[in-house]
Symmetry: C2
Subunit: 212 residues, 2 copies
DNA sequence: GTCTATAAATGGATAGAC
DNA sequence: GTCTATCCATTTATAGAC
């Protein structure tokens, strides 16, 4: 029998103290960062005592790492989001582009990225983890796709890693760079389709075989 | 008569205590971020007492803001770097592209960007400042250039802001995104010319008038 | 498991001498 | 201007009762 809080919870026991702590840690870490967020504030936000926090998590560092690892998995590229590599280039690239843009435009994911970047000096593995599970994963998928299409003669891609990076930059860059610095969205979700299609068309214009 | 330390100093009085403090603050803030860096550590790194730090700077926040403002100005787009808007598209875009890439590949500027992004929650104006003086400035220059070329009939650019963002993403994105998360360079300065030329060619392929 | 209370250390900022 | 010494608040982490 589902209660209201089940809808927003992520744990098996949504009302348990430990899940309250996890939620509080997530909110505070993502909003203020690692250093500013104190274990006191997490305990207060979760509505438990500080001793309870320490009974579930060894220390602040472990709580932070677990929190961010969960965020990486939640916002990484899920298997069901993987695009069909047998689809024709327009379709494949456009759907990948829309996926990239929707990720970049998600304010929750922006908070995750900012926190990861901000704490990179103290937690360098976290940045690599996020990259490989998220945007890096997508780039590799595009790289492999381009390599195959080149081999099949459907596209002409002399440098697949560079072309994949350029496609990603073309579709995500316009929004990602200003967004990460200013916080202001330049385009909205309504523009996703248009931008992805423009980028795809532009990309294919120079990667189609000359004859045929 | 120049001493050795003059070569690395930026102040009018390179040996002065205040410049030593500035240099120490720069090193520590850029390497570890705002929160982790203590006034004690800055004083120690500068080789002065903490009281001396406070006699030159009101508090930690002011020292940080002054430090990062200096970094923004140093790494922003300088007037002499501004590209010639009367040059033909290949030349203008390629040189702007190379400028963008060289900025993104500079490890010192990467440290600045990471610090700014990391402290965005506490110092939001700093991100806007960096954007407008650096990459945002370049994007505006490209936008204006494309608008003029479109009006002159040299290029076909229905949406200058989007096209400018895409060009910037195409040339800087491949390096910027992985670099900011993993710290690993994908390409080196030797690739700058090739990448900028590739991006320029790709961009122009879809923005040249059909009959022409 | 959960609480109140506290230990131990650190950091921002200042007092007062020279 | 510069130093040593110090105050005060905060923070991580733990002790011990229930």
């Amino acid at each position: 029998m589902a209660t209201e809080s089940d809808l927003h919870a992520d744990d098996a026991y949504p009302q348990s103290k430990v899940s309250q702590i996890r939620e509080a840690a997530r909110r505070l870490f993502l909003e203020h960062g690692y250093e500013i967020t104190s274990m006191d504030s997490i305990a207060a936000e979760a509505g438990v005592s500080k001793r309870t926090v320490y009974s579930h998590f060894r220390n602040k560092e472990m709580l932070f790492i677990e929190t961010m690892e969960t965020m990486c998995e939640r916002f990484g590229v899920a298997p069901h989001e993987t695009n069909d590599p047998t689809a024709p280039p327009e379709k494949f690239l456009c759907s990948v582009g829309k996926l990239m843009l929707s990720k970049v435009m998600d304010p929750r994911l922006q908070a995750v990225m900012r926190t990861i970047i901000g704490e990179l000096a103290a937690f360098p593995e976290m940045g690599s983890r996020f990259w490989s599970i998220g945007p890096g994963n997508m780039r590799i998928q595009v790289t492999e796709y381009l390599r195959e299409q080149d081999a099949a003669g459907v596209l002409v891609v002399p440098d697949p890693p560079l072309s994949a990076g350029m496609f990603q930059g073309m579709v995500a860059g316009p929004q990602f760079m200003p967004m990460i610095f200013t916080g202001d969205p330049v385009w909205t979700v309504d523009d996703i389709d248009r931008i992805a299609r423009t980028a795809t068309a532009q990309f294919l214009a120079t990667h189609r075989p000359k004859d045929g």
